[in-house]
């Protein structure tokens, strides 16, 4: 009949029937180390979840700042322990809500932010010295950080007490997520301005989350995800060191973001290998003197692309397995996907279930009771070693191309991702990659009308947001605002860090679109090369 396929992991690593001590190279104890000690294979902290549970951080935001604020309160009341802000596409791409390109998109995939006042409203009733906040923002990250600092200032909260993460990883935007605005070189400069600024002033804040998640969601495998992420981390570190910064001055605040998908043990092995590889890169390549520089901390987002439109309740089970993988892999914070993600942004019911999934794994499964419970498993250790070796080879290939930025400019990394995505889709189509409810155990009577109640967006949001912005623009001191924006332009044209003048400009009422236009004029806009 059909050909017998050799069992292999999702990334194509052949898997034996059974693993024994003979499958492990010698020197395991050195490769593992103690938890909380280099090379951190077993976890970044000695006590892991016994000392502190992971942060439950559901990505949320839609509509105007009021609607998003309401969802934040909703999540915190249900036991979420931190916030993660989703921005709408105009905000991510540097357009105000009244821009013609924004028309159909205001408040749709996240909250609309035009002014610092919007940021103040977004965090109304949420004390920023007590709740840590993650911002999924990249091309316009410096402007959003400036607005956040002004919002904290209005609350009377000191900068030093702000905790959270700014995604600020522009390289993966060119690779996979695609909300780039400016060309790669000035984009890298803006990312590094943020990191340099924050390293001096925001001791509890992660100014970047170096992300493999989106490349994975765009189709690459676990090995490529790991290599691409580390290649980016090297590129940012090289750029900061080239500015004359000491690696140890910024490396402890670098944070990471990986996907956790369905192949449970491969994902756990990938996350363990990631820590070991970064610890070695920090020590060997950058000569880290501070142990914290090589301590890889990461956020895990579960995978939306593994979820199916068919039989959507099955997605709750998929998400539970992925949440478990993130915990067994030693995540510091976790987002669990909504089971209705294939249709819309999650409904209140779906997002509550995602949070409950995390709470059940945390409080009922017993998994967090001990550090790295899979450590020493013949299979998981062999996989960890194998993924490290294979990701190291991909990393060498990227280095040979000239590093992460050069590989992107040549379109090589993008082609890897697209080719892998196409392979996966063909495997789903021909049935060799099982998807329950899609190509196996299909329900012929599935009734589309019986789908879950979906989230729906209030259609008047764009209109209200545009009116609110107009009011605020009318109320500001126009000449002070123009002077502050001119200072941003001067910094952008010269070499000074853009953050200090940006903070002044948003405090004076400059909008996100206006400040993005300043950067557009100075830096130009990037147009993606053809993918083939």
């Amino acid at each position: 009949m059909s050909e017998v396929r050799e069992p292999a992991t999702d990334a194509g690593i052949p898997v034996r029937e059974v693993y024994t001590e003979h499958d492990l190279a010698s020197g395991l104890a050195e490769r593992l180390g103690e938890p909380g000690r280099p090379p951190f294979t077993r976890g970044p902290y000695p006590t892991m979840y016994r000392g502190r549970m992971w942060t439950m951080r559901q990505f949320a935001g839609f509509g105007s700042p009021e609607e998003a604020n309401e969802r934040f309160h909703f999540l915190l009341q249900r036991g979420q322990t931190a916030l993660s802000v989703a921005f709408d596409l105009p905000t991510q791409l540097g357009y105000d809500s009244d821009h013609p390109a924004a028309r159909a998109e205001v408040g749709r995939v996240g909250v609309a932010i035009d002014t610092a006042d919007d940021m103040v409203d977004l965090f109304d009733g949420l004390p920023l010295d007590q709740v840590s906040v993650n911002f999924t923002i990249n091309a316009t990250a410096p402007i959003i950080l400036a607005m956040y600092l002004v919002a904290a200032e209005r609350q009377g909260v000191a900068e030093e007490s702000l905790a959270g993460t700014l995604q600020n990883d522009i390289l993966k935007e060119f690779l996979a997520r695609k909300t780039f605005v400016f060309p790669p070189e000035p984009s890298m400069r803006l990312s590094c301005d943020v990191i340099e600024f924050a390293s001096g002033r925001l001791p509890r804040f992660n100014p970047i989350s170096i992300t493999g998640y989106h490349a994975r969601e765009a189709g690459c495998d676990a090995i490529q995800e790991l290599a691409l992420t580390l290649a980016s981390a090297i590129a940012y570190s090289d750029a900061l060191v080239a500015r004359g910064l000491d690696f140890d001055s910024f490396a402890p605040r670098l944070s990471f973001h990986f996907a956790t998908t369905m192949d449970l043990f491969e994902e756990v092995a990938k996350l363990r290998a990631a820590r070991r590889m970064w610890a070695r890169i920090a020590a060997d390549r950058f000569g880290a003197g501070d142990v914290n520089s090589g301590r890889l901390r990461f956020f895990s987002g579960n995978s939306g692309t593994t979820l199916t439109a068919q039989q959507p309740l099955n997605n709750i089970v998929r998400s539970t397995i992925q949440c478990l993988g993130a915990v067994l892999g030693g995540a510091q914070s976790i987002h669990v996907m909504g089971y209705d993600e294939a249709y819309e942004i999650p409904s209140e019911e779906a997002v509550t279930l995602s949070l409950r999934t995390q709470q059940i794994v945390a409080l009922e499964s017993g998994v967090p009771r001990t550090v790295d419970p899979l450590g020493g498993s013949y299979y998981v250790e062999a996989l960890t070693d194998e993924i490290e070796a294979r990701a190291g080879e991909v990393l060498d290939e990227i280095e040979a191309l000239g590093g992460a930025v050069a590989a992107l400019e040549q379109g090589v990394s993008q082609r890897w991702v697209a080719a892998s995505a196409y392979r996966i889709e063909r495997e789903i189509a021909d049935g060799t990659r099982p998807r329950v409810g899609v190509n196996v155990h299909v329900d012929p009577n599935e009734d589309a009308a019986a789908m879950p109640e979906l989230f729906s967006l209030d259609p008047s949001i764009a209109e209200r947001q545009v009116a609110r912005m107009a009011e605020r623009v009318a109320a500001r001191d126009g000449s002070a605002c123009a002077a502050a924006s001119a200072a941003v332009e001067a910094a952008a044209r010269g070499g000074d860090n853009v953050m200090p003048p940006l903070i002044d400009a948003v405090r004076a009422g400059a909008t996100l679109g206006e400040l993005s236009d300043v950067f557009r004029v100075v830096f130009g806009e990037f147009r993606e090369p053809h993918p083939w």
């Binding site: 596409l89 105009p90 991510q92 791409l93 357009y95 390109a101 924004a102 028309r103 159909a104 998109e105 749709r108 995939v109 935007e173 997520r177 695609k178 909300t179 969601e217 765009a218 189709g219 692309t305 199916t308 439109a309 068919q310 294939a342 249709y343 819309e344 942004i345 697209a418 995505a421 196409y422 889709e425 063909r426 789903i428 189509a429 899609v438 589309a448 009308a449 789908m451 979906l454 967006l457 147009r527 993606e528 053809h530 993918p531 083939w532």
Partner: protein
């Protein structure tokens, strides 16, 4: 002659995994695929369809803005007198599938549609377009 398919991402959405997979699959099925890329405006899509003599235009939207964007495209095509069938893919709720079909979209492929179904459907639209008088 091989069918000519113009594919594009209108609006601001950057999710291009799906449309690239469809582009590769259509190409492997013998179509000539002109992929315009991200953040294409409606006038750019219409111009490309005319210039490349498209048999089908395919757009993909995963931000939820599909109704407005499809409507803009259909109006612009009608205004230019361009009679090319439009296929729309993306995160499209069941209720919106009917809305899109009523407004004149020739085929709708919500998330979850199988690869073969999309490829065969687009090629069938192209075949119909080719026999137009």
């Amino acid at each position: 002659m091989s069918p000519r398919i113009v594919l594009a991402k209108p609006g601001l959405d950057g999710h291009d995994r799906g449309i690239k997979v469809i582009a590769m699959a259509l190409r492997d099925a013998g179509a000539e695929v002109i992929y315009l890329g991200l953040r294409r405006t409606v006038p750019e899509i219409v111009a490309a369809a005319l210039e490349d003599d498209a048999d089908v235009i395919g757009i993909s939207v995963l931000s939820g803005a599909h109704l407005a964007l499809a409507d803009d495209l259909l109006r612009a095509l009608a205004a230019e007198g361009v009679d090319v069938p439009v296929a729309v893919g993306g995160t499209i709720p069941e209720a919106d599938v009917a809305v899109l079909r009523r407004s004149g979209v020739a085929a709708v492929y919500p998330v979850g549609t199988g690869l073969h179904e999309v490829v065969n459907g687009v090629l069938a639209l192209a075949a119909r377009a080719e026999v137009r008088p």
